[in-house]
């Protein structure tokens, strides 16, 4: 009380906020600069106790000597989180203020977002490119509801996100009206089916321990989002009467598959005549890509990449992803590496009659290395249909690649190694033929207007081919995977995970943010329907100066749904001409160039002339290389 009144006098006599904070620091609080050192200490050594601060707040106080949210930020800083994406909200106003003033708005920096779904999708894309999570702040009620679909995407894509949701647990302290509508008894209940862990800490010490635990869990494969609830009173009340400490963060080593199981897998693969490797969310880094190359080369086994991660270079002759049907059909052993849908790899299903077609030999032997058993929950069905395996191995695929390769080498006789080496020429020819087929197919409709998707992707490649590039969202349009030379893990960042529309734009912004300081040029092929979900993310990119080349794949509709309606009309023996109703985005057509400009982003278009695409992309690239986002609206063929 006395201290608070003194602060009031200082303030009135001209002390600014920064000086006030320094005063608080002198009394024991940590400044942002001090925190940098503290972060290192906390991560490198034993837990660092925080000094008890001030006194409990009471009615009549004018100031809070050191709010609990300052300590919360101290905890977050120890986790080396660079950014916190958020749409501002009152339930975390205290932590927000701590971030920008007490923390100096650095590590983490507050990213201003215009939708909670954008916040989480930015964090989703960022985590894949940065290799570590971003924080997200939202209301526990209306904010988390907005965020929920993006959380599900991150869950399905196995990506870590550190979520924080503001909430007021003590009903006695809730302000009447809106604060009640924004408080929840069990906030995480909304998303618990698709997050790895959550907690609602009741004290600051509880917050410290649960936040460090949450980060550790999020980063342990299978990586997933986690959620910590931020109690309003814990944030806003002064730290008092507590001995606080921040636990040391120590990440768990990823779980490697059992050695005996890997030996058995090696025996099966060495004995196989036509082994095939299927890699889904297999690797998390270039180290993983290189390990998979060594495995495939040791076996001379072709690799099918599903596109959810850049597992294997497209330039390598063993990458035969576009020849999947033939490879699966002829395989006698298939090694599935963190494959989300093993059943779907071996079967097809007709639509709408649901007739099952076997895509593989009836006696094909299946080896699965996966952590799927460790993340499965009951409600949401992203785990796909059950597929028995001849050898099911629980383990992190990337971590298990090297020991599996070593086991194969031990099993490999010199005679067998020679046989494997003899396959190389044939596989090289097959790879060349596959590439030629793709180029021939890309030529179809080359001069068409609207622009063909193949032409668009070829023009974009020719614009960026001398850059260290990253395609931020690479799962929806097949042509880059078919045509572009990819050699690095960072070249392609996969997709949304759960096919929840609205990921592409914010996900790309998150990827571009992570790449900004690495010298990697980020480009994205942006579907129009997706951008219409939450276009405010363009403003976030402009405001935070995130360089990103956005190339609109503008087919003016939700075209997959057009096709569904056509099929339904045919089945119902009714008019197929109505398939545009409710599916197409025209009358009026959206002008995405102007939309971008309105958010402060360089924008061009709409472009329908295929010969105008290349020059427009070159102009936009200059803008991006200057450190800003740019958008080129290209009106495209529907598929």
């Amino acid at each position: 009380m006395t201290k608070a009144r003194k602060s009031t006098q200082d303030d009135e006599s001209g002390l600014d906020r920064r000086k006030f904070l320094k005063g608080a620091a002198a009394a024991g609080a940590m400044t942002a600069a001090a925190m940098t050192a503290a972060t290192k200490v906390a991560q490198a050594a034993e837990a660092k106790p925080a000094k008890p601060e001030g006194e409990a707040n009471m009615r009549g106080d004018s100031f809070i000597a050191r709010p609990g949210s300052d300590f919360m930020l101290d905890v977050i800083k120890t986790l080396n989180i660079d950014y916190i994406a958020s749409n501002p909200a009152s339930s975390f106003r205290s932590l927000h203020e701590s971030i920008v003033n007490y923390g100096g708005n650095k590590k983490p920096e507050f990213l201003t977002c215009m939708h909670e779904e954008s916040s989480v999708a930015i964090a989703h894309g960022y985590a894949k490119a940065a290799g570590k999570p971003m924080g997200v702040l939202c209301h526990s009620s209306v904010g988390l509801q907005h965020a929920a679909m993006a959380v599900y995407n991150a869950w399905a894509d196995r990506v870590p996100v550190m979520m924080f949701a503001g909430n007021g647990m003590d009903a006695n302290k809730r302000r009447p009206g809106v604060e009640w509508t924004h408080c929840v008894q069990d906030p995480a209940g909304l998303v618990r089916d698709f997050i790895k862990w959550d907690d609602q800490p009741a004290s600051l010490q509880h917050f410290a321990e649960s936040t460090v635990r949450a980060y550790k869990m999020a980063m342990s494969p299978p990586q997933e989002p986690v959620l910590i609830t931020l109690d309003i009173d814990l944030q806003e009340e002064a730290i008092h009467g507590e001995k606080l400490s921040i636990p040391k963060l120590s990440l768990s080593a990823p779980p490697q598959a059992d050695e005996r199981a890997l030996r058995e897998a090696a025996r099966m693969l060495v004995a196989a005549q036509n082994p095939v490797i299927v890699a889904d969310r297999c690797v998390r880094s270039q180290e993983g890509v290189e390990a998979l190359v060594k495995l495939a080369e040791t076996l001379q086994a072709p690799v099918i990449c599903t596109g959810n991660r850049m597992n294997f270079p497209s330039t390598h002759y063993l990458n035969l992803s576009e020849s999947r049907p033939g490879l699966v059909r002829n395989a006698d052993v298939i090694l599935m590496l963190e494959v989300q849908d093993p059943w779907g790899m071996l079967h097809g299903m007709g639509d709408p009659w649901k007739d099952v077609r076997r895509a593989a030999k009836p006696d094909v032997k299946v080896i699965q290395i996966s952590l799927a058993d460790f993340m499965m929950k009951s409600n949401y069905q992203d785990f796909q249909r059950f597929q028995p395996a001849d050898l099911a191995i629980s383990g992190d695929s990337q971590t298990s690649l090297v020991p599996l390769t070593d086991a194969i080498k031990r099993e490999l006789s010199s005679a067998r190694a020679s046989e494997f080496a003899g396959k190389a020429d044939g596989l090289r020819k097959r790879h060349r033929d596959m590439k030629e087929r793709m180029k021939t197919a890309a030529a179809l409709g080359w001069e068409a207007s609207p622009v063909s998707t193949a032409r668009l992707c070829a023009e974009l490649w020719n614009t960026i081919r001398n850059e260290n590039y990253c395609l931020a969202v690479s799962d929806r349009i097949a042509w880059p995977k078919r045509l572009w030379p990819t050699t690095k893990y960072t070249n392609m960042m996969g997709g949304s995970g759960a096919a929840g529309v609205g990921y592409s734009a914010p996900g790309a912004v998150g990827v571009a943010l992570a790449n900004r300081d690495k010298g990697i040029l980020t480009v994205t092929l942006q579907p129009d329907g997706d951008l219409c979900y939450a276009p405010g993310v363009l403003w976030t990119a402009a405001h935070h100066k995130i360089p990103l080349l956005i190339v609109m794949y503008n087919n003016r509709g939700y075209v997959q749904e057009v096709m569904h309606l056509q099929r339904m009309a045919g089945l119902h023996r009714r008019d197929p001409k109505t398939a545009k109703v409710g599916t197409m985005i025209y009358d009026p057509e959206v002008d995405f160039g102007k939309l971008a400009q309105s958010f402060g982003v360089y924008g061009e278009g709409p472009i329908s002339d295929p010969n105008a695409v290349g020059p427009a992309l070159a102009r936009a690239l200059k803008v991006v290389k200057s450190g800003a986002p740019a958008l080129v609206d290209v009106v495209c063929q529907l598929r």
Binding site: E436, A441, A448, A454, A458, Q566, R573, P576, K577, L638
Partner: protein, 115 residues
């Protein structure tokens, strides 16, 4: 590849060839192609591309196979009955498809040389 399979199946089903098709109007066929939303899979200029990376009817495609594919399609394509699309209209679309110029050879496209 999928289209090629369809083509092969259609060839078995009907042995008629392009010259057996009723006389059609390419102009009307193009208009109908748009109205029926065929372009959502086959491209605005019926060139294929995108998910279906081959055109709907390669050169020499038989009329009867084309008609069969519309009436009783294989794979994912919807069925178009006589009451919805008359045989004359199918012939118009067939004429349109037959009039489409072949794609340029990829070796003659500079942008594809870098792959």
């Amino acid at each position: 590849m999928r289209i090629a399979l369809v083509l092969a199946a259609s060839l078995c089903a009907g042995a008629a060839f392009a010259q057996d098709a009723p006389k059609g109007s390419a102009e009307r066929g193009k208009k109908l192609f748009a109205e029926l939303n065929c372009y959502s899979c086959h491209g605005t200029h019926a060139q294929g591309g995108g998910r279906n990376s081959e055109p709907p009817i390669p050169a020499g495609y038989p009329w009867q196979g084309f008609l069969n594919q519309l009436r009783k399609p294989r794979l994912d394509m919807p069925a178009y009955e006589e009451k919805l699309v008359s045989t004359q209209e199918v012939a118009d679309m067939f004429a349109y498809f037959s009039s489409i110029k072949a794609a340029p050879a990829e070796k003659n496209i500079p942008q594809l040389r870098n792959f």
